[in-house]
Amino acid sequence: MRDLRKNGRTEQRTTEPRTPMPLPFVEEQLPNGLKIVIEIMPHVKSAACGFLVRTGARDETPALAGVSHFLEHMCFKGTPRRTWRDISVEFDEMGSHYNAFTSKSRTFYHGWVRAGDIERQTGLLADMMQSALPPDEFDMEKGVILEEIAMSNDQLEQLAYHLLHEKVFAGGPMAWPVLGYEETVRALTREQMREYFLRRYVPDNMIFIAAGNLDASQTVAAVKRLCDGWTPRGVTGNGVRTPPAFHRGTAVRQVERFNQQAILLAFPAASARDEQQEESAALAAILGGENSRFYWNIVQTGIAPRASVWHEDYEDCGLMILYGIGDPENAEKLAEAMQREAIEITTKGVTEQEVQRVRNKRRTQLAAEAEAPYYRLLQIMDDVDYRGHPRTIEERLERVNRVTADSIAACLKRFPITDDGYFVSVGPRDWPPV
């Protein structure tokens, strides 16, 4: 175990969250490569834990599009020791808030319980990582996935989001939706999934994370007991991934059954590991968060009911996505307004007052995170997966405090949002002409 907390204290201000704070991180790695990261939060009554598997859509081949997500469902369907019923009953016997999600680059299984149940939940989650992929359940679950795809296809925002990624990351595995396509999911066999599972669900490609009011040595001992026998395969998620190329252009998908038109503009942005990641996040907040330029100059001028900006970051790439949804006849006005704001913030920069607002809100957000093990779990997962180490709340606050108007200007210079990005339009109008 080693203490990752920095010795030096950051400047204390009255507006910083002062008490109570978690204790230092505990970090270990088993001989088979499984990483363990634990944060003790003595001031809470609950605890959360999860297994991160560094596998997602970007680790699939085109023919296997959707296998990571389908596999996530199958991990709830049975192990050599438990049936699907045993798994769900045991989670519910603890009253856990539990779930799993799959993204382009990771799959995370997690649960949040009363502190006394953390070891039991750890055992259950560890067992799920040794899924039997029960053959009898495979076709049944395939039906569930196809229903999920149908549900996603009925949502305008999902269609627009998928089209954007399909175009921006064309030709690579970041292009297809995490759910896969109806055709690839239908064609997928259990044998193909099993081969993928054996290759990716290995301890040297996984991280166990826990946060809350727990005993670190007991938790580490439990993980060792449960996972020591897992066999490594020399997989390193980072090593086999290639940074995706960013494509520029325009794509339109006319879908007449929708009332609204969705407009998305995407530009390359800082990756999660980039030194300017925090600047990118601050820029997104100033341009398109609450009380932002988009809010006052697009929404509150009546151009569109929804307009926002978010920074989507991965380990090796990032996107700045400008988003708006509104009446189709306003599509030109909406797109112009989004581009106008991008030009304005690039040419004139942001003000120190805008930056200070971001800092102030982040302080409250971090204070709220400090009281909720589940929120901490998700943040630690993000830090450990993308940055290689967990960050304390003070470290993150200190980094936010270093964002300035000048550093955001430097970020905009490096990652411009005024040149040709990718423009996507989805809705009843076949606009703009391509």
Binding site: V44, F91, D92, E147, T364
Partner: protein, 415 residues
């Protein structure tokens, strides 16, 4: 240990606080006893327009200046218009709670409702109604509410296009004048707070804000319609909404109903998830929940599936409710009780959750109820109690809405 305080302030506010020492945040919720049910019939959408325009300027600050002032204390704000109330929530660092209260008072008491902001809010509400048509789940909920809750509680907060077009700034101002007063405010706070100081702050900030007389506490009528309607829409899935009357939060059987909902949908081992999704693969989403306007309750079942699976999904949903009377297991009840208890306790680490619980208590009971007391009532529920509930509250009158490419089969049953 936490400490609960409840007080009627002389300014008219009903105030409750839960003192949680050592917490890093404080939470505030102000509920105004005026929601969509209080809208004039020819001006539906008015309560939400008041909510939307309150922060667009005060006698002291412009809208931007007001939001900047909230940002200066790092306030995480939220607001929502519901059936019977309009709620304003805020999470901040504890030392900023007095400023958060002062800013809310400024916003609620001295809004200027700029003409242009009102025009834009009305226009955006019309656009939001159009956007709602693109969200099948939200649209199903809207259709279900209108059908099952009747002309008052069944209103959607956005209103209707025709009624929105009738609304002018003067209507928004008049509605605010009519429905916003200290006597209609329920205020709850939670965190490391000094309740006396908070009460003093509220007295100072809200003294003379309209009538201090308690008002807006009458229940709006729930007019239930047991009908099945289909709303054709080009979609890949059919959305199914079912509901039938339950009991109010204040009813002695409310804890039993909580357990019943837990048995049906408390987790992946719940009846609906098990029977509809795990055993048959008919859906991705299936759920059961209950909603509670003042002095009323409604049990909801919902799912979405491709049209070829819709009839089977519908029949399974009803079958599972029906057979509970015959084969409910003690282990299911025990799991539901543990689920409610454990999830309440884990959420208890979040200060905001305590504040929301207090706000709901003030609304339904008129006073805070210790969480331990509510959980004790749940923990006392038994299999016979659930079966008695099912016998006394049968699902013999159903309101059913389907949205999608085709209606349920005529013999799908249910009514």
């Amino acid at each position: 240990m936490s400490q609960l305080i409840h007080r009627h302030l002389s300014c008219g506010i009903e105030f409750a606080a839960e003192v949680l020492p050592g917490r890093p945040t404080a939470a505030l919720e102000i509920r105004v006893l005026a929601g969509a049910a209080h809208d004039p019939a020819d001006r539906l959408g008015l309560a939400r327009l008041v909510e939307e325009t309150l922060d667009k300027g005060t006698t002291r600050r412009s809208g931007r200046e007001l939001l900047d002032a909230f940002d200066a204390i790092g306030a995480q704000r939220s607001s929502a218009t519901g059936r019977d109330t309009t709620a304003f929530g805020c999470v901040c660092l504890p030392e900023f709670l007095p400023q958060a209260i002062e800013l809310h008072a400024e916003m609620l008491r001295t809004p200027t409702f700029p003409e242009e902001a009102c025009r834009v809010a009305i226009d955006l509400a019309v656009q939001e109604l159009s956007a709602l048509e693109d969200d099948p789940q939200a649209l199903t909920d809207k259709l279900m509410d209108r059908q099952a809750y009747g002309p008052f509680l069944g209103r959607h907060p956005l209103g209707e296009k025709e009624t929105l077009q009738q609304i002018r700034r003067a209507d928004i101002v008049r509605h605010w004048q009519t429905t916003f007063s200290a006597g209609r405010l329920l205020v709850s706070v939670a965190g490391p707070v000094d309740p006396e100081r908070v009460a003093d702050c509220l007295e100072k900030c809200f003294a003379g804000f309209g009538s201090p007389q308690s008002n807006g506490r009458e229940a709006q009528p729930l007019v239930f319609s047991a009908v099945r309607t289909h709303h054709p829409k080009e979609l890949e899935q059919e959305h199914i909404g079912i509901c039938y009357p339950g009991v109010p939060v204040t009813h002695a059987d409310y804890p039993v109903e909580r357990v019943l909902i837990g048995v049906l949908a408390g987790g992946m081992s719940g009846r609906l998830f098990t029977e509809v999704r795990e055993k048959q693969g008919l859906v991705y989403w299936v759920g059961a929940w209950h909603e509670h306007p003042r002095n009323a309750g409604m049990i909801h079942l919902g799912a979405s599936s491709t049209p070829e699976n819709a009839d089977k999904t519908y029949r399974t949903l009803l079958r599972e409710v029906d057979r509970l009377s015959d084969d409910l297991l003690e282990s299911e009840v025990d799991r539901a009780i543990v689920g409610i208890t454990a999830r309440t306790e884990t959420r208890g680490d979040i200060t905001r959750a305590h504040c929301s619980e207090l706000a709901a208590d003030l609304f339904h009971y008129g006073h805070p109820v210790p969480i331990a007391k509510k959980l004790a009532a749940v923990q006392a529920v038994t299999v016979p109690a659930v079966k008695r509930y099912l016998a006394e509250h049968p699902r013999d009158r159903l309101s059913v809405v389907t949205l999608g490419p085709r209606a349920l089969a005529a013999d799908a049953g249910g009514e």
